[in-house]
């Protein structure tokens, strides 16, 4: 008769290995790999002229993160240069913030060339984590102004785009796209479905703000006009207030839905009170029984000790 072979599987050890691998997997899941080669990165350079006429040059640095997604690179040193005739001259080094942005305030001393162009170079150099990268930008400074009549029932506004000539005169800039927005609490909202208008030969773009824009308690709206990511001028913006919005009264009942309403429904309150009232009444009944047990000692009856 053939003897049965007893194959022993070390179950305990197998289970311990599973537990250990579970913990290891948890520790390694989502962890970034370290000790690899320098990472690829990319710089996106732009010029930004704000409505308050503050000017900045921004470098947005992104890097290849886990799962192949491009994510902002925090803490990267960016060297900004200006391109002179003699070659690049360093302006300043700026470290990127947690959003991967390094902002260089526009240097007053920055000079433009004969064509009126500013030339900026941004570089990641000799970084221990990232490979060397360089990005260049050439731009001119444009001026953007809004003209309008507050009493105009058509809510028409004219954006005028000019650049300063070498003689100091303002020269209208034609065929430049201007986008019109309305300021909202957390940013700007396009003022209409068609909100981009090109300037004519006089450098003017005319836009009519719709009459149904909500303007808060006072009916005031803040118009925002922007030249967005223009190859020559970068981003330029300007703002102006106009009394063209609809007056909106304060919402007295902002959540008229489901249980997320401001006041709990009566039925819910009753249900909770009944359930938890019942539970806590029971608890107090038990406390009362304990009190009674304690009081029993005073009228101890020896004959009753044995159950």
């Amino acid at each position: 008769m053939k003897k049965k072979k007893n194959i022993k599987i070390p179950v305990s050890k197998t289970l311990l290995v599973i537990a250990a691998s579970l913990l290891f997997n948890m520790a390694t899941a989502q962890m970034d790999s370290t000790g690899q080669d320098k990472k690829e990165s990319s710089i996106d350079l732009s010029f930004y002229k704000k409505a308050d006429l503050g000017k900045t040059i921004s470098a947005v640095v992104t890097t290849m993160g886990i799962n192949g997604k491009w994510v902002p690179a925090n803490g990267v040193n960016i060297n900004f240069y200006t391109q002179n005739k003699s070659g690049p001259a360093i302006l300043k080094s700026v470290v990127t913030n947690p959003r991967g942005i390094a902002i260089l305030p526009f240097p007053d001393s920055l000079s433009k060339d004969a064509q009126g162009l500013y030339r900026i170079i941004a570089r990641i150099e000799n970084n221990s984590l990232y490979k060397d990268v360089e990005e260049k930008i050439e731009f001119k400074e444009a001026n953007l102004m809004l003209k309008f009549n507050p009493a105009d029932s058509a809510h028409e506004v004219t954006a005028m785009v000019t650049e300063t000539g070498s003689d100091g005169k303002e020269i209208p800039v034609a065929e430049t796209e201007v986008s019109f927005f309305v300021q909202r609490l957390f940013g700007t909202m396009p003022a209409n479905e068609e909100y981009v208008v090109s300037t004519d030969k006089d450098g003017e773009a005319v836009f009519s703000y719709p009459g149904d824009i909500k303007g808060g308690r006072t009916g005031k709206i803040t118009m925002v006009a922007k030249i967005l990511d223009n190859k020559l001028f970068g981003t330029v913006e300007t703002k102006s207030d106009a009394p063209w919005g609809i007056v909106v009264p304060v919402e007295t009942n902002p959540f008229p839905r489901a249980l997320i309403m401001p006041k709990a429904p009566f039925q819910l309150i009753i249900t909770l009170v009944l359930i938890f009232g019942g539970i806590w009444t029971t608890y107090f009944f038990i406390f009362y029984q304990l009190k009674k047990i304690n009081e029993e000692t005073r009228i101890k009856n020896v004959s009753e000790i044995n159950r």
Binding site: L15, P265, K300
Partner: protein, 470 residues
């Protein structure tokens, strides 16, 4: 008859000695163990103070993953707290005689895990003083408020449920503690006296105690179920991908029972070994508890299937991203280890009688408990990393999460705190309900006696001489 009574008394005396021995002896190992737990707890407190001082920014949690290790551990502890309800209340209510030696450890585990479970969200708050805002500004229609009310009510209920069966044992400890020369013994005497609430074992006292226990046994079950259901509401009542599910309530309850009962087996295993209770907590107890855990694991596996299979069949856009990450992405290793290693494998092992033997069952339960904790992590963290609005224009590390040393230290501190309370409890109070086991011994003897009498009577009937007809 007299001999039988003597036999029972001897057995009861041995039982009392066995149960009270650990409360009178503090071995060097026990002191070392307590010292180790105090050190870990101390380190956890240090990390928590560091967090309090510098804010939650010292943890790995950021805007997207704002519920990390702390809330994972909170849900895990609340899950473990179902152990007492299941083992003690359900077995009591169904009059399972074998429950007697294991109810105390189950009830204690419930109480301790609830205590620490309740602390974890406060740790997660960053500014713990804000916990009172839920009382001052809490809205009745908020699941968070329901959660606080339910957990607090369950905690009070569990305290009563643990305390009531301890009363006769406290009286026993009080009466047996003769040596009150040392300060510590004086303290123990005082504690036992207070906790015995004047217990003398009179008929009326027994009547009141049994009535109270019956009421608590009935009421604690729905409270326990409501607690984990409401804990699940914190997740399910949001519109988040992965949490927007209608099965979350029963899914969480099933998961809690599965991990809680495994926790009870671990408690049984440890105290049986440490305090030499093999005579009372027998392989039969492990076998029966193993069957319960097996049944609960099967229910949990079924709930798991529903939780993932239905959305996976549809692969709706947002759910799809999360599920892909779980099935084949960065969390797939953990996910599949959990499904196969901590659900399927325990089912296979526990299906065989050998798999329900104490040692192997204890290892299976360790796996289940670790798996239950990791499952909570998988429910919380990947979901938070898949919000409806994409993660963009934020620092790279906001798009990932792994707990850092502060979170690990605080969490391990909480775990050490939990084990410390259990250890101290076991050094002060008997870990088995002495009177309940005594009652079991008496019932067994009565049954044996009844069987003997029946046998005797049957024998007498059988030996009656046959009467000749005519």
């Amino acid at each position: 008859m007299q001999q039988d009574r003597q036999l029972i008394n001897n057995e009861i005396e041995i039982l009392r000695e066995d149960c009270l021995r650990p409360t009178n002896k503090w071995s060097g190992t026990a002191k070392l163990w307590i010292g180790f737990l105090l050190a870990v707890l101390g380190w956890g407190i240090y990390a928590y103070v560091h967090q309090l001082r510098y804010g939650l920014g010292v943890t790995a949690m950021r805007n997207y993953v704002s519920w990390g290790l702390y809330i994972t551990t909170f849900v895990f502890f609340i899950g473990i707290s179902h152990s007492g309800t299941l083992v003690s209340a359900i077995l009591r209510i169904t009059k399972q005689e074998w429950r007697r030696p294991i109810t105390r450890s189950a009830e204690l585990l419930t109480w301790v895990s609830l205590f620490w479970g309740g602390i974890m969200p406060i740790i997660d708050l960053g500014r713990p003083g804000r916990i009172f805002n839920i009382v001052i500004f809490g809205r009745v229609q908020s699941p968070l408020v329901w959660d606080v009310i339910c957990i607090f009510s369950y905690f009070v209920g569990s305290t009563i449920f643990l305390f009531l069966p301890m009363i006769p044992d406290m009286a026993l400890c009080r009466d047996r503690l003769k040596n009150t020369k040392t300060r510590f013994n004086k303290f123990k005497k005082w504690l036992y006296t207070k906790m015995a609430v004047g217990w003398q074992g009179t008929k009326t006292q027994w009547h009141r105690l049994e009535k109270s226990m019956t009421i608590m046994t009935i009421i604690i079950i729905p409270i326990a179920v409501s607690v984990h259901t409401v804990v699940s509401y914190i997740f399910a009542m949001t519109l988040r991908t992965g949490w927007n599910s209608t099965v979350f309530g029963p899914y969480f309850v099933a998961g809690a029972l599965y991990s809680g009962s495994a926790g009870v087996i671990l408690g049984m295993f440890v105290f049986r070994k440490l305090y030499k209770l093999e005579k009372y907590i027998t392989p039969k107890h492990f076998d029966l508890m193993g069957r319960i855990v097996l049944a609960l694991t099967l229910i949990y596996a079924y709930m798991n299937l529903n939780e993932y299979w239905i959305p996976a069949y549809k692969m709706a856009t947002a759910e799809g991203h999360l599920l892909r990450d779980l099935f084949s992405g960065s969390y797939s290793k953990v996910f599949w280890t959990l499904q196969f290693g901590t659900v399927l494998l325990p089912i296979i092992i526990m299906s065989f009688p050998k798999g329900r033997r104490p040692n192997l069952l204890a290892i299976v339960c360790v796996i289940i408990v670790i798996g239950a904790w990791a499952k909570r992590y998988i429910i919380i963290v990947p979901t938070m990393l898949h919000p409806h609005t994409p993660i963009q224009h934020v620092p790279a590390d906001w798009a990932t999460y792994f707990p850092n040393w502060v979170e690990w230290s605080v969490t391990l501190g909480a775990l050490a705190g939990m084990l410390l309370i259990i250890t101290l409890f076991s050094k002060l109070f008997p870990m088995m309900a002495v009177w309940e086991v005594e009652e079991g011994i008496k019932i067994n003897h009565e049954k044996e006696l009844a069987a003997k009498i029946r046998e005797k009577m049957e024998a007498e009937i059988n030996f009656q001489p046959a009467v000749k007809p005519g």
